[in-house]
Symmetry: C2
Subunit: 314 residues, 2 copies
């Protein structure tokens, strides 16, 4: 195997989620050479519409292997890449792709999501997050420990030696957004939650109230309204407290599901707004955590899948 040239394009990595789409041109070592975005999320496209969006997105880029993760590979996406069952070795995941040849002759690989079925036959699914986790393995391919992926549907993931053993989804982000925009709390909470600081006292109080069990989540929510009605709490404080309650609720639920029993190592993989808030929650349950930026992790994960396939082919 010759030394890779880190200035020459080698593959195209696309994170195609429900609401947006980002494509990166990568060198053989994973270096990002160029990045483009398309506003067309997979959620708004019919299967027949993906190809035209894709061709516009990569127009002018060389004809290289294309790897796509996210909802573009769901049943309602471009082409279904069926879920793989856990335990799933992520270095093998690149051999389980769904393959499309476009009219222009480009070869597109869609990465599968993961499925976890527990002893009581309850199922959980992820699509897109498996690639962010692979981005973590791209840095440390024998990683064992916990990965937390905050978001609309937060995931807690148990990884042992590069294998995803088990995961669990929490509706935290979606509930936050419904409560802040469509519930009685919308009158009391500011719309912008992205600038909550991890050391905001209202955030910290909400977080520790729920994690400690002093305040049950579903009852703490209504108190945000009463603090506004009776004591004129500011909309910023209320948003910070709501965020603390919701993240606290996720950690309390994860704790009750045994996620905090024995953790070797913990990574938080997510956006720049939520990651510091989750890191603070980790501190509160005495869990040391490191952070990884989600979009970078996703690009590196697609590179990891492609790279592992090359190694297997060598």
């Amino acid at each position: 195997m010759s030394q890779p040239d880190n200035t020459q394009p080698d593959m195209i990595a696309i994170d195609w989620g429900t609401t947006n789409c980002r494509a990166s041109l990568l060198a053989a070592d994973g270096t990002e050479l160029d990045t483009r975005r398309a506003p067309e999320g997979a959620g708004g496209l019919k299967a027949s519409e993906f190809e035209a969006v894709f061709e516009r997105l990569v127009a002018g880029w060389p004809d290289l292997p294309v790897w796509i993760c996210g909802m573009a590979g769901s049943r309602q996406g471009w082409l279904e890449a069926p879920y793989l069952s856990c335990p799933a070795k992520l270095s093998d995941l690149g051999s389980q792709i769904s393959r499309i040849e476009t009219k222009s002759g480009r070869i597109v690989r869609l990465v599968p999501g993961l499925l976890y079925r527990d002893a009581r036959d309850n199922c959980d699914i992820m699509r897109g997050e498996e690639t962010q986790i692979a981005g973590l393995l791209a840095r440390q391919d024998d990683f064992s420990g916990l990965a937390i992926l905050p978001g609309t549907h937060s995931k807690w993931v148990d990884i042992q030696d590069g294998k995803v053993n088990r995961f669990q989804t929490f509706l935290t982000g979606e509930l936050y957004s419904l409560l802040a925009t469509a519930s009685i709390l919308r009158h009391s909470v500011s719309a912008h939650s992205s600038d909550i600081a991890p050391d905001d006292p209202a955030f910290l109080a909400g977080l520790s109230d729920v994690i400690s069990g002093r305040v049950p989540l579903v009852s703490g929510l209504f108190q945000i309204r009463t603090q506004d009605v009776l004591n004129g709490a500011s909309k910023e404080d209320s948003a910070a407290r709501l965020s603390g309650l919701m993240i606290g609720g996720e950690f309390a639920a994860a704790k009750s599901s045994g996620w905090l029993d024995t953790v070797e190592d913990c990574y938080i993989i997510g956006g720049r707004g939520l990651t510091p808030l989750y890191a603070k929650a980790c501190e509160l349950v005495e869990l040391e955590s490191k952070s990884l930026f989600g979009l970078d992790a996703s690009t590196q994960g697609l590179w990891y899948f492609a790279h592992q396939q090359k190694l297997a082919a060598d």
Copy 2:
């Protein structure tokens, strides 16, 4: 005091909530002689608009004392009837009303809501439910025990000898409705939840999964989606399971707040759809419960306030 004539109108009782309004003409012993409804809920009216709606509603009825409970007495209502602090003796509540004389000369009494402040200075409020509880006292004025009032904002209320000592609000109904209509679960859940039977297996499974602690609420929610995506669960089953999870979440939270520690007697006061579901949840935590229909309780509660004032004046 002469024997009351149970065919002669003696007072007008109005339950004026956020979204609807119901007026009853009552005899001196509380017998309902006539009932009318207005579509104008307090939530859609300015203070200046209440009087015209009221006059239309009672037109033709004799000029008798009018007692109103619900959001018409809130700060955004007709006239504020400020919250009374707990512990609050409900038989005294009729002396704490806000009074209006309309242009036509009718005397209207607006009943206050209740406020509970815990040792950590967290506040909780109710407005309307205090009157439903008074409806329970109208039957049994030395009642001691627990009243559960299911609804958009469910209340758990500790009553000792006709006094409200403490209460706690859970956002159960509002969360259910947001999840069923505006979240990712809307694709999986049928819109009509009013016909869920208390012995529906999906309802019971959801209920016991959360009450037992096997499934944390915020994580069980996502499984409703996966059961649809992977196993094609029916929308009716999913709605029943969602209802079970949410009511289970309320009971688990109430349990963790000590509500089930020592209960002498338990009443569920609510609508005909939810009350049997809550009764089933009571069974599961080995709590015997009796039920009272909410609208009847409300009318009887207003009668109780008026009656207690008469007794005090005698």
